[in-house]
């Protein structure tokens, strides 16, 4: 077996790939644009619901207002928890590779929690909508001429939520595999 210098010399002889500088520049700009797009999407995601609420708030009965207000109050701690889970990815600063390994491991764990949160919020959001409109129907607040339109919206939303549930579950499984791979590599 070689001594340290021989080992280092052997190490240095290995052929390496070339960096495609143009591809790096392109990828760098794409990544920046993608992150900006995500940020804008995150901000805009709350907008349609807020506009609908502001527009139709006066038309809602007290019961509807209580139900919507309740779900909004419940959603704030959930959003807060999700932001707290994202803090490592957003604000982490590692002092070395060892520190980074710990942070990455934590981030994978948090990503699993975020995916679980998304998964359960998908079915609970769909369930809330069905319950909400069922209550509106049985209390007579849902007018006959709007029933068909409401059912179409509910079915469409449920289909979207099923897709969201499947997507979140796949993400959960992916992050679990990544976390496990990291543990295996750490040895």
């Amino acid at each position: 077996m070689q001594n340290n210098d021989e080992l280092a010399n052997l190490w240095q002889t290995q052929p390496t790939q070339k960096v495609d500088v143009e591809a790096v520049k392109k990828s760098f700009h794409q990544e920046t644009t993608k992150q900006r797009r995500y940020f804008i999407l995150d901000c805009l995601a709350m907008l349609p619901g807020a506009i609908l609420l502001i527009t139709y708030w006066a038309e809602f009965s007290l019961l509807a207002k209580v139900m919507i207000g309740g779900i909004f109050l419940l959603s704030y701690p959930i959003v807060g928890y999700q932001l707290w889970l994202r803090r490592i990815a957003a604000f982490a600063k590692s002092d070395g590779t060892n520190d980074y390994l710990g942070q990455l491991s934590k981030q994978f764990k948090n990503n699993i929690r975020i995916a679980v949160l998304n998964k359960h919020s998908a079915w609970s959001a769909a369930l809330f909508l069905w319950v909400f409109w069922a209550v509106m129907f049985f209390t007579g607040e849902l007018k006959d001429e709007k029933i068909l339109k409401t059912v179409v919206i509910l079915v469409s939303t449920t289909i979207v939520m099923i897709g969201w549930y499947i997507w979140a579950d796949k993400r959960k499984q992916r992050f679990q595999r990544e976390w496990q791979a990291l543990q295996d590599m750490k040895g």
Partner: protein, 166 residues
């Protein structure tokens, strides 16, 4: 203070390529990882304050990026196992006997390095790049003594791996 992207890559391309090789065995995956490392280094260069050498700074970025890459490639089969790609190293020595011997030694070394636990792999490869104990400690965020212990274990494991391979 901060070197340009082009200067850094012309100077450290080989170094970054060897980091990629220590995590990925497959040629295509090595290229993909090297590109990812290059993007991460470019992003990181703007934050470089000059309180360490540029070499240790980009090595830290490269290893961190590589770990993320390898963990995220878990769906792909054999991303960092030894494959036929390791047998493709070009001949660069005059004697055919020496060539074969060097190729085999290099393939065994890379295989043994990739089989190491992450921390040992990082410490050993940084040492093989000529970093001092202090510099390795700085890149990894470890104490100098800890680096010494890990390096000793890593070398022992590589020797054992090479002997088993022969």
């Amino acid at each position: 203070m901060v070197q340009g992207f082009g200067d850094v890559f012309s100077q450290y391309e080989g170094l970054l390529g060897r980091v990629a090789n220590s995590y990925e065995a497959n040629d295509a995956m090595q290229q993909e990882l090297l590109q990812e490392i290059a993007v991460a280094v470019w992003q990181g260069l703007s934050r470089f304050k000059g309180d360490s050498s540029i070499k240790t700074y980009i090595l830290r970025i490269a290893h961190n990026r590589a770990v993320t890459h390898v963990a995220s490639q878990v769906k792909r089969v054999d991303t960092h196992s030894l494959d036929e790609g390791d047998e493709h190293y070009p001949h660069s020595q005059p004697s055919p006997e020496t060539l074969t011997s060097n190729q085999q030694s290099l393939a065994h070394l890379l295989s043994a390095v990739r089989a190491l636990p992450l921390q040992q792999r990082q410490v050993l490869t940084l040492s093989l790049e000529g970093l001092s104990y202090d510099e390795v400690a700085e890149v990894c965020g470890l104490t100098k003594n800890h680096v010494g212990v890990i390096l000793k274990r890593a070398k022992a494991a590589v020797v054992k791996g090479e002997l088993n391979a022969k």
